[in-house]
Subunit: 199 residues, 2 copies
């Protein structure tokens, strides 16, 4: 039946394209929209377009922002001598939530994964090397996810950074191996930052 309400079906398909949303959830969300006030639905649609139009990568670190540079790079109290290298913006969010880290970030936008054809030139690796070479960076904390690809990326980066005379550390294994930074709780993540080690 509702399979034939074309506009409902189309909306459910849109929700279904979002990460982690299954078919049933997508239909439930589409129903929620139908049950909303018209003005609320308009706000929702506008929020999508606004986010899409305003949000872009920070030219310095690759973090997301709706300003010229991101809030971290724009914050003078942050220590620019410490750069935390992460896979994606979600990792930045997770670390920021701990409120313990006072350095800045470098978002790779992925990890090196030969199997999937992701070579170092497909991620923001060159930008990292340039940044460390040009800026007054003293320590690079590699906070890629504790997955095989994340590990390979960490090794690769450290191999290139060490000759530049910079201290390279890796988050301590407080993070459960094989999981994703996004799901780590604040305490575990805090311990991991605190116990970071030379690589």
């Amino acid at each position: 039946m509702a399979d034939y309400i074309e506009s409902l079906q189309k909306l459910a398909e849109q929700f279904g394209r979002l990460q982690g949303v299954g078919r049933k959830s997508a239909m439930r969300m589409a129903f929620s929209v139908v049950e909303m006030d018209v003005s609320d639905a308009a706000d929702f649609a506008a929020a999508i377009m606004e986010a899409k139009e305003k949000i872009h990568a920070c030219p310095i670190c690759g973090n997301l922002t709706d300003e010229d540079v991101c809030t971290v790079c724009n914050d003078d109290s942050r220590d620019r001598r410490i750069v935390c290298v992460v896979e994606d913006v979600k990792a930045v969010m997770s670390i920021e939530k701990v409120r313990e880290y006072k350095g800045v970030y470098h978002v790779l936008g992925g990890v090196i994964s030969p199997v999937n054809g992701i070579t170092p030139d497909k991620i923001r690796f060159r930008e990292l090397i340039e940044r460390v070479g040009n800026d007054d960076v003293e320590e690079v904390i590699i906070a890629t996810n504790p997955t095989p690809d994340g590990e390979v990326t960490a090794m690769y980066i450290s191999k290139y950074l060490k000759p530049l005379g910079v201290k390279v550390t890796r988050l301590a294994y407080g993070i459960p191996v094989g999981s994703d930074l996004e799901y780590a709780d604040e305490v575990t993540l805090g311990r991991a930052i605190e116990g970071r080690r030379d690589v």
Copy 2:
């Protein structure tokens, strides 16, 4: 950090208002939107507005539709002498999926719930009585959910319908097909024994 990307936060809040979407899922969905192409995001926003503008309740049965009447009421092969009374449109969808029911529907848009201040005049109860009185209805199948409120509603409806000389039935209770007796709760099992049939 990303807490301060206002447009991302606003979008996540919009997702969070949907039924069954938690805070983390909402943020993940907002990220998905940011990662989309602009045209895809525009399609998404348009689908929301389109669904909201086009979809409305069927004037006959209360089911959702983007036509004048819903596909069930518009289908001449459906038996109008049998009316299945459901709480909401999702129930219509569930029953339609079975492809066994050939009658029509009446969507109450809720259940009687004195505790929550939902009296019979707050749901499409009067419309049901009128419909049964005017149309050539022979059987009303009450398919409200097997919850206390659903039961009360079923009782209330049957009390009003029986004097009209219409057959009133209720969906059978029992053990779900394919499940294990061990996992059936006592109430369900009790009903299953009560409703046992000759074989």
